[in-house]
């Protein structure tokens, strides 16, 4: 079971770097959807046994993170007819290197942490995904890309949460998932309105409010 979890975590890292390296928005969304799918399977593997809680959580995760939210984001960019990220604040190569640095730092930090029972890879991958999500959120100017970054940040925290999966009750998991769902949904609606008002979904144009 543990080796399967490690393979899944390896693929999670691949999707992280996929988002960093790809300029096409739809490819980024596909990568984050794949990450959502991996997370759903991972929650089953980490739980280690078939329980109502584990299966419900996995199904909910896949449904929300791998099916509905990516579909919704694709709808938002189709309506806005944007295809690629124009001139991110940091170039693709540089953000790729930033991601690599984040990965190295995450492993170095995780090695110093008090050990937890869920295997050695879970914590560093969670940390790296959180940091890479923040990098995407800060360095990309398109509103949709920022939502993708936020989703990755959430995914990283979710991976960390898997270490505690047996202890957090189902009601709470469901609440967390529901909040993420509604949060991205509201963001998507705002993205749609930004597109309509500004004829572009670049958050860099949002500069009217300054001191």
């Amino acid at each position: 079971m543990r080796s399967l979890a490690e393979v899944l975590l390896f693929f999670v890292i691949l999707t992280d770097f996929g988002v960093l390296a790809m300029s096409r928005l739809s490819a980024c969304i596909r990568a984050v959807a794949a990450q959502g799918l991996l997370l759903g399977i991972l929650s089953l593997v980490v739980e280690g046994a078939w329980s109502v809680h584990g299966v419900g959580l996995a199904l909910g995760t896949i449904l929300i993170k791998a099916v509905f939210l990516p579909w919704f984001l694709r709808w938002a960019i189709r309506e806005a007819s944007v295809r690629r990220e124009v001139e991110p604040l940091v170039g693709y190569m540089a953000s790729f290197l930033l991601g690599a640095a984040a990965l190295a730092v995450s492993f170095a930090v995780a090695a110093r942490l008090p050990p937890i029972e869920s295997g050695p890879l879970l914590v560093p991958v969670a940390l790296a995904t959180v940091i890479i999500g923040l990098v995407v959120l800060i360095t990309r100017t398109k509103a949709v890309s920022q939502v993708v970054g936020y989703l990755m940040l959430e995914n990283g925290i979710y991976i960390f949460g898997l270490t505690q999966i047996r202890r957090v009750p189902f009601l709470v998991d469901a609440g967390v998932l529901l909040d993420v769902f509604v949060g991205v949904f509201v963001m998507g609606i705002v993205v749609f309105h930004i597109n309509r008002e500004f004829d572009s979904i670049s958050a860099a144009q949002l500069t009217e409010l300054r001191e």
């Binding site: 100017t141 925290i157 957090v168 509604v182 309105h193 008002e197 500004f198 958050a203 949002l206 001191e211």
Partner: protein, 456 residues
């Protein structure tokens, strides 16, 4: 039972309000929920220590005070909203009314939950319920405000979730110990893992601090408060920030019980003082009334964490300050909203001479601004006094001195704007004497830019 009702009643009303076709139905729902909520809270005062859902929901001092504040604030804002919604289209009214009621449910959940993950769920729900209310005007500026609010708040609240998971990791699993339940965390505090606990607190401070609007994570606040309708500002400055304070206070409680107060307090003091510095810097010379109130909110959030970081008398002052600040902020946003409506602009230069045009509102604003700057006989004076004397009693004379100095600067900044607004000449005369905005800063120099993350 009462606790569950306090959460479920407004939640059900929110759903009904969204589907209600007639405006009178929505008004009744709003009044009904607000009144019932207040009655139930009053009932809680007489039956303290009630516990439901296996200890997930419980009433304690801090929770009860914040719950009372939210209930009072909501009934006032609801009565204001009834008139406001008459001017809106039916569709906007549905979204607005149900957003407000959803906020009431979520805020009650935050105040009552003793399960920290459940508290997080409530906190995130308050964040989301506010988004459609901020975007109520449907124009470019409010769109920009709501985007900044959503992105920064979401990142903040995500960090708070990480803090919750870190806290769960710190808690050893043992039979009979309920994970993440506050009472069990405090009872078993000595057995918590120190390392994870420290990490949890750092993330909780960053996460809930963003929601409170502590500097330097406050950059969403002036934009959001400036662009949102006044009654939404009242709910946010009085309600949402107080809920975030509850979240941070719960983590501080756990750390103090675990004997890590020495780790938590300097961090809280640092963020508190820095918030006061930033607030003072931006209040002096502020030209927009609502943005002034936003920076005043940054100031008061700074005072809250300062008080909590002092411990002892300071903590008492901080809890009192939550109540006072929430009520005064609600009052100020609503009356300033009246003046802005009358003047048709929220630039201080345009709201001049209001004492003649709107005497009642103008007097209320003057009184409110004296209250918000902490002058006697208002409640904020008492709580600020408690916090500052807490600093002296806990042997932090430098903190006390710095806080007093900054409060004096802030008082001067607020007083200047008020006096100009109320006593200043009419629009024409004053504007012609001093061309341009009354801001002493050159237009090209924008200090906000330094603090804003690049995506703003």
């Amino acid at each position: 039972m009462i606790q569950l009702l306090l959460i479920l009643l407004p939640a059900v009303a929110a759903v009904l309000a969204y589907y209600a076709r007639r405006e009178t139905t929505r008004t009744r729902l709003m009044w009904g929920a607000a009144g019932a909520h207040l009655l139930l809270v009053a009932r809680l005062w007489t039956t303290p220590r009630a516990v439901t859902l296996a200890g997930w929901l419980a009433v304690d001092g801090l929770g009860l005070i914040v719950l009372t504040l939210i209930s009072l604030l909501f009934i006032v804002v609801a009565s204001y909203a009834v008139g406001y919604l008459r001017t809106r289209s039916a569709r906007d009214g549905r979204v607005f009314g149900s957003g407000m009621l959803a906020f009431l449910a979520a805020a009650s959940l935050v105040a009552l939950s003793h399960h920290l993950a459940l508290l997080w769920v409530g906190m995130e729900a308050t964040t989301l319920s506010m988004a459609p209310l901020i975007y109520d005007r449907h124009d470019r500026r409010s769109l920009e405000a709501v985007w900044k609010y959503l992105v920064l708040s979401s990142v903040g609240i995500a960090l708070a979730l990480l803090a919750v998971f870190l806290l769960a990791t710190a808690q050893p699993s043992a039979p009979g110990v309920r994970p993440l339940v506050l009472d069990d965390l405090i009872a078993g505090a000595p057995s918590l893992d120190r390392w994870w606990l420290r990490a949890a607190f750092v993330f909780a401070l960053a996460g809930f601090g963003t929601k409170m609007g502590l500097a330097p994570m406050h950059t969403w606040k002036p934009d959001t408060y400036g662009e949102a309708p006044s009654l939404v500002g009242a709910l946010m400055a009085g309600g949402v920030t107080s809920c975030a304070f509850v979240g941070l206070a719960r983590f501080t409680q756990v750390l103090t019980a675990a004997g890590l107060a020495g780790f938590a307090r300097p961090l809280l003091l640092g963020f508190g003082l820095f918030s006061l510095v930033v607030a003072a810097g931006f209040i002096v010379g502020q030209a927009d009334v609502k943005r002034l109130l936003a920076y005043s909110s940054v100031e008061h959030m700074g005072l809250l964490v300062l008080g909590m970081g002092l411990g002892g008398l300071g903590t008492y002052g901080a809890v009192l300050h939550v109540l006072n600040n929430g009520l005064v902020k609600g009052w100020l946003f609503l009356v300033v909203g009246n003046l802005v409506l009358a003047a048709g602009s929220q630039a201080a230069a345009d709201v001049r001479g209001m004492l003649r045009a709107r005497p009642v509102s103008a007097m209320l604003v003057v009184a409110g601004l004296f209250a918000v700057s902490g002058s006697p006989p208002f409640g904020l004076f008492l709580s600020e006094f408690a916090i500052v004397s807490g600093a002296i009693r806990e042997h932090h004379p430098v903190v006390a001195g710095a806080a007093l100095l900054l409060l004096a600067v802030i008082f001067a900044g607020i007083a200047r704007m008020i006096l100009e607004m109320v006593l200043g000449g009419g629009r024409g005369s004053e504007a012609s004497r001093r061309p341009g905005a009354p801001s002493p800063r050159a237009p090209g120099w924008s200090p906000d830019h330094w603090h804003s993350p690049p995506w703003c």
